[in-house]
């Protein structure tokens, strides 16, 4: 299963699972922000050297730490569509 931190810019995917061993506060915050199993996400930006990853989900745009993105497994990945804006 792919991790969120593995996805390239422009990829669209669906959250398959979130590591239950993560900090409860982290899980609570992700839930409040709408990142739960089944949520569609899109990768907007990636920063170099394991920097934060900018994602679009829950009707807004958030930057997640690399380690946090690592907790999230995804499926139904659709690579970059090369949309013109």
């Amino acid at each position: 299963m792919m991790r969120l931190s593995d996805l390239t810019i422009g990829t669209v995917a669906t959250v398959a699972a979130i590591d239950p061993g993560a900090e409860p506060a982290t899980l609570a915050r992700l839930t409040t922000l709408g990142l739960v199993v089944g949520t569609p996400i899109a990768v907007e930006r990636r920063l170099p050297m394991s920097g934060p990853i900018v994602l679009r989900f829950g009707g807004a745009v958030f930057a997640l730490e690399h380690a946090t993105a690592n907790l999230i497994s995804v499926h139904n990945t659709v690579p970059s569509q090369q949309e013109s804006l």
Partner: protein, 613 residues
């Protein structure tokens, strides 16, 4: 009706929903705004014609996970419990409806439980309309059971309807209390998702388009470059652009001093006014343009959405030092003043990173250090120019001091991080919302810049005025002008002079340094008074020239610069630190450690420069 008897209206919403701008639009000039820009961490109060309006910090939900959120939730609950609370305006971001609704629903439940009227302000409708999208606000209103008013705080559309709605609430009969069964945030989140599925437009393309500048500012090479350029521009404003304004201010104050002195009935009072009061004050007030520009530019960076990008650009490097990307804004605003910087550190998710950021903030070259740096550089360093006049020796010296402050702050943070044992509990992660890029509204920017400039003047005015007066009295009597050596103050001065003698500094500087522990700018004020009394005939009005005339060596001057760069000489910083940390020991320990380290560094610099000369 006085403000205390006016009914209260609360403004709540998620972060970045435009609450602050709405607050500004509704209250106009009638607001007691927090002095400095930055994420709203404190409650803001203002008034409209009929209400006292209270802007609360942004929240995603009523279940906090960090210190600042806990504070914000407590403030909200407190405000709701107040009997004067007549209504709650929940601000919803029309372009980010699902996320806005979570708090919107929780706030509704909290308001209904207390019989407080609830109104939804659907903000940013202009951005939605520009993207050719819309929301069925009446349908949403029916689903929520409360009025939903489409507005745009930016274009001011819909504000009239909002005010009318509030007036209607005021004259309407009280709302009955409605206790719904206690729900968890997770239920509100699910309900928000359902409502958004029904009413929220397809915003994917809009969101991506709003952030398209990120392709430049968050890309590998251009991201780093643009960050460097932005920071360079910011600090250039401090060094170079404020110069014409500073010159104007200096001239103006000089004229003021001479004419005020001429109006005095006796020469003694004339001296008091000219040297004692205005001499010291003007040396500090001349830096108001700097403060203004700095606050204004930081405000532009914040309101445009760039600071969020800067924070995540810095996150990885700062994490390696034990800090967080969220430490960036506090460290940056520490260049204006440490007090709001310490408060802004509340947004840092990890307690450990927050503590380390507190350690670093006092080392940032704050605006109070600027008068001291300015005076010493002008007195010691010649106005040489290099590279066809683009670079100046003095400008470079000032740049060096600012860079030194930043580097020492990061060094101290990482040193303490490595030395103190890490607790096993992992830190809360960075999850930062990326606001869209926006052109900032100039009115709130201007207001904040003016407000922080005024705070600077107020503080400088108060402390310097009192201290200058006392120092002047001590230095003038018993023998008057030109007889400083035989004055009362000289007696005290010679007593403390041995502390600073190893740095080649005389008793006058010693007295000035001691007084500067109240506030750094006081150094310039005190020295101004003493040098003014000493020089009976008014050869020079220029303080730098007067200082040069005392024969201060480069080594002593640089030692003094090093001292001021590190020493913790701000009582207000210690007070705020005590409040933020809840510990008495921490501020005390920091004050002692930094001051001792400052002396040590000063001695090192003195010895080194003497050896090299």
């Amino acid at each position: 009706m006085s403000a205390t008897t006016l009914p209260r209206v609360l403004l709540v919403g998620k972060p970045n929903s435009g609450k602050s701008l709405l607050f500004n639009r509704l209250t106009g000039l009638q607001q007691k705004v927090a002095n400095f820009p930055g994420v709203t961490v404190d409650v803001k109060r203002g008034r409209t014609e009929d209400f006292e309006l209270i802007d609360l910090p942004g929240l995603y939900s009523l279940t906090p996970i960090s210190v600042d959120e806990q504070v914000a939730v407590d403030q909200l609950r407190l405000a709701l419990a107040d009997t004067r609370c007549a209504a709650v305006i929940c601000v919803l971001d029309a372009t980010r409806l699902e996320r806005s609704l979570v708090l919107g629903l929780e706030a509704r439940a909290a308001a209904e439980a207390r019989g407080i009227a609830c109104v939804y302000a659907l903000n940013m409708c202009d951005e939605l309309n520009n993207a050719k999208l819309s929301i069925d606000s009446s349908g949403l209103s029916a689903a929520l059971g409360h009025p939903v008013l489409p507005i745009s705080a930016r274009t001011r559309s819909g504000l009239g309807a909002l005010e009318t709605q509030l007036k209607k609430i005021q004259s309407a009969p009280p709302v009955p209390k409605c206790q719904t069964p206690a729900s968890r945030t997770i239920d509100f989140t699910a309900e928000a998702k359902q409502l958004a599925a029904r009413f929220a437009p397809q915003t994917d393309r809009l969101l991506t388009r709003q952030n398209r500048l990120d392709a430049f500012t968050l890309a590998n090479v251009t991201g780093f470059l643009s960050f460097t350029v932005v920071m360079a521009v910011l600090f250039q404003s401090i060094f170079t652009w404020a110069q014409p304004l500073m010159d104007a201010a200096a001239t103006g104050l000089k004229i003021l001093g001479t004419s005020a002195a001429a109006l005095m009935p006796t020469p003694m009072l004339g001296d008091l006014v000219k040297d004692g009061l205005l001499g010291g004050l003007s040396a500090v007030l001349v830096f108001v343009p700097q403060i203004f520009l700095l606050t204004f530019i930081i405000g532009i960076l914040e309101d445009s959405g760039y600071l969020a990008r800067a924070a995540i650009l810095c996150h990885r490097p700062l994490s390696l030092l034990g800090l967080s990307g969220r430490s960036f804004v506090p460290l940056l605003s520490g260049h204006a003043c440490a007090i709001p910087a310490l408060m802004a550190a509340r947004t840092i998710e990890s307690p450990r990173a927050r503590w380390l950021t507190w350690m670093a903030i006092p080392l940032m070259a704050c605006s109070a250090r600027l008068p001291v740096y300015g005076l010493l550089i002008a007195a010691l360093i010649p106005d040489k120019r290099y590279a066809f006049g683009l670079l100046g020796a003095r400008g470079l010296a000032l740049l060096g001091l600012y860079a030194g402050g930043i580097l020492s702050g990061l060094l101290v943070a990482t040193a303490i991080d490595r030395v103190t044992p890490k607790k096993t509990k992992a830190a809360l992660p960075l999850i930062l919302e990326m606001p869209p890029y926006r052109v900032p509204s100039w009115r709130p920017l201007l207001r904040r810049a003016i407000s922080s400039s005024w705070a600077f003047i107020h503080r400088a005015g108060g402390t310097i005025f009192v201290v200058s007066l006392i120092v002047w009295i001590g230095g003038y009597f018993p023998n008057g002008n030109g007889h400083l050596e035989s004055s009362w103050l000289a007696g005290v001065g010679h007593f403390i002079a041995p502390i600073f003698a190893p740095l080649g500094l005389d008793w006058k500087v010693a007295v000035a340094v001691v007084t500067s522990f109240l506030a750094r700018e006081v150094f310039v004020g005190t020295l101004g008074v003493l040098l003014g009394i000493e020089e009976a005939k008014e050869h020079t009005d220029d303080m730098a020239a007067k200082l040069q005339a005392t024969g201060m060596t480069l080594a002593s001057g640089m030692a003094l610069l090093a001292f001021f760069a590190v020493a913790l000489q701000c009582v207000s910083t210690l007070a705020v630190l005590r409040r933020e940390s809840g510990s008495r020991i921490l501020p005390l320990a920091m004050a002692v450690c930094y001051t001792v380290a400052a002396y040590g560094l000063a001695y090192l610099v003195y010895t080194l420069v003497n050896a090299l000369h």
